[in-house]
Symmetry: C2
Subunit: 465 residues, 2 copies
């Protein structure tokens, strides 16, 4: 776990420096010119070293339905997703591997998996995802996705009376499963952390949020949730609570400096102030927000209010890739259309900072990862600046963020362990993974979702389409 990267380009505040970087026992030990070689010597010439990014929100098993989901807004898309969700542990394992590989090859060394659980096999689902991430060696934050209300409860009622099936399991039983998962799988030192992660206000009772707060406090865990992804959810919050979702979650005590909230598209000015005051992190999933027509999250306003923002790919059924550099690019340039004053726009350097340190902050590990700082864990990525997509040579970070980098990650380390070398993940057999993904799927088209047929009329009425 000790090595020295020589003659590598790193970013300083407003320039670049060529330095050596010593890593000893998994930690960054020194960054300076002409350092003594400790451990293996790594040639960093014509390469850029950055801290690993965080894929701060995804759902790994959605990879099985990427490319095929209909072009629909979240509420109908979700119905189709659940109608065809794979309920198979082997598939969960393979898609977690795939998610880890795509994240790594686009600069991510950490992944937050808001993990869809197979009903009746919840602990087994978590176990197999943990196994996949540990095999790859990526830093994993497992956020088991829980709810205690049925799908249709996630739609606003409007003027119409709606009846919903009760959820199949009592809230307390769900919380017991999560507590058991925490006991079994929460091992931050081994690179696996558990988060509490109710899916969001649209499908969860207060009791579920409160139970998660209690677990988070008792076991010192971060909190995660979707928040106000769609206009429909904004309506629903008013119906359910008579106030905004942020006001309600704040009252419940869910918002904190270790709470990260995915999407945050439909917040008002007061809500934004609340997120800033409570020191929450917004996870921006720009591609998913576009594909599902959810809207453009007011990211420039978050940044101006001092809210920490990081990037996520979101699940591959709503993106449909796990390429972090793509999410970073689009999640940066998208907002230039929302503010005439270009002095507020996100620069490539700011994007990189959001993706690395911003991601770490949202997981309460900014003291351990997220920047090239002596003493931090060596979660590092080396980019090959001689690749065609990063040429001609100009500003390396500009090329990385604003271009469309292809095959540019040469090496990646997590905790000082090298898991990508020569552009390939070296901890698992990726070719075998590819074969498995191929063999367990088939080309298909035009599925018909029975649940959409049930809810579409109501959806269109209540959304006034």
């Amino acid at each position: 776990m000790s090595f020295t990267i020589q003659n590598v380009l790193i970013a300083t505040n407003d320039d670049y420096l060529t330095v050596d970087v010593q890593v000893v026992d998994g930690k960054i030990a020194a960054i300076a010119s002409d350092l003594e070689v400790i451990g293996t010597a790594v040639d960093g010439s014509n390469q850029l070293l950055l801290p690993g990014f965080v894929n701060a929100h995804t759902h790994s098993s959605e990879m099985w339905q990427r490319g095929i989901m209909s072009v629909l807004p979240l509420e109908l898309w979700l119905a189709e997703l659940y109608d065809f969700a794979p309920l198979d542990l082997e598939k969960v394992y393979l898609s977690a591997l795939g998610t880890a590989v795509e994240t790594l090859l686009s600069g991510g060394t950490s992944v937050v998996d808001h993990l869809v659980l197979i009903p009746g096999q919840e602990l087994e689902t978590i176990a197999i995802a943990v196994r996949a991430y540990q095999e790859v060696g990526i830093r994993a934050f497992i956020a088991p996705l829980i709810q205690d209300q049925s799908l249709t409860a996630g739609l606003p009622s409007g003027e119409f009376v709606q009846n919903h099936q009760p959820y199949f399991r009592p809230t307390a039983a769900t919380l017991e499963i999560i507590e058991e998962a925490i006991k079994q799988f929460h091992h931050p030192q081994a690179g696996v952390s558990m988060l509490v992660a109710p899916t969001g206000i649209q499908l969860c009772t207060d009791a579920l949020f409160q139970g998660c707060i209690e677990l988070s406090d008792r076991y010192d865990l971060c909190r995660h949730s979707h928040l106000l992804e769609t206009k429909a959810q904004e309506k629903l919050a008013q119906e359910k609570y008579g106030c905004t979702a942020v006001e309600h979650l704040h009252r419940l005590g869910y918002l904190s400096d270790r709470t990260s909230l995915a999407h945050c598209v439909w917040l008002n000015h007061t809500d934004i102030t609340t997120l800033a005051q409570t020191q929450c992190t917004v996870v921006h999933n720009p591609l998913s927000n576009l594909r599902l027509g959810s809207g453009i999250a007011p990211i420039l306003k978050y940044l101006q209010a001092g809210v920490n923002v990081s990037f996520g790919c979101d699940g591959a059924s709503s993106n449909d890739s796990q390429d972090l550099l793509e999410a970073i690019k689009i999640g940066s340039v998208l907002h230039n259309t929302t503010d005439l004053d270009y002095q507020n726009w996100i620069t490539p350097r700011k994007s990189i900072d959001m993706a690395s340190l911003g991601g770490a902050r949202g997981l309460n590990v900014a003291d351990q990862i997220g920047s090239l700082s002596v003493g931090k864990q060596a979660d590092l990525v080396l980019y090959d600046l001689t690749k065609l997509s990063l040429l001609p040579r100009t500003d390396p970070i500009g090329l990385l963020v604003l271009g469309r980098p292809t095959n540019v990650v040469d090496s990646a380390w997590v905790n000082g362990r090298q898991i990508v070398s020569n552009g390939e993940v070296n901890t698992i057999n990726v070719d075998h993974l590819r074969q498995e993904l191929f063999n367990r799927s088939q080309w298909e088209i035009n599925r018909k979702s029975p649940t959409i047929a049930q809810i579409e009329t109501h959806y269109r009425r209540v959304m006034e389409i």
Copy 2:
């Protein structure tokens, strides 16, 4: 130039078929099951065959400044661009090669190069770009970028009196150069077509537009131009003409079924109707429009009005890649946020159609390329569906458009000539190109543009920032 692709997946109206495709003398001769092998047999198993896309608007030499351009709106960005534009024929050659390679490896077989001309070496600039495209073998549409007003004339004046330097060359002299270029380089049968291409209303007099119309009529050429890319241009048109830019260009006679217009962000309802009536093509450059904060072009409205729409990467200083699949993805999903009714959203199949047949229509060659039709030229692309980024297997076109395909183009043909094989451009030495791009550039950062310093105060005042 004769070959037969066997067992390849092609898209039918709403499904896929596995077929053989015969190409004889550069044309598609037959598409059916179990065809006799004519010429070379190509194994199409587990591959998807699509018509080549058109990169319908770019500026190749901008590749030299990708990654480094400041985060600025078009008008200031343009000042910086021109301050640092490379004026070197060898660089024009290399960036044309690079543009062709990136376009090909993302599914494009045609490129429209709105080519920035080196002052005093206009014909040489065109000649060297033509040479580059012919060496690669991509179908090239050369649109020499001309203007006859100075840069500052492109800004609205508002309430302020502005004086502009006269342009360095008279309009007639510029038109003479273009006519000479047409005579020398317009060889559609050899894969090189010339277009007339005034930069846009912001920097061109009526005389220049009229001269271009005349040349277009005399030599039977398509017409190209930027149109209403920014809010500043919308203001400028009102100042300059007392009407919208579309009304003015319509009156001049520039709008026609062989006119393609890049950007079209700031058009009103009447303008859109005019584009539909005149059968113009809108070239959508979504990534450039986001990076420069120009806005979101009302593409769903164009489609509803029956306007033909195609995709462009735009120059690599405003994108900063030449990856057409990226432009197609973002140019499709972006608009889901502009219309609550998902029934109007662009499906992946529609996107593919816009990128291929839409591109061909905009160049008046829809009878020759743009679809897999017997009798058309064989401008074809074969995608390898076993690549990780296109797995698991679901809907191949969905994966291609909505994912983030990497290394997926296995083969490409233009006019039946194979110019990509095994994922590599085989007509030029790409490794040598890479070396040249590397050697002729250096990592840099933080340039100061003198022209921005001159115009920024006025820009902010007139745009009320």
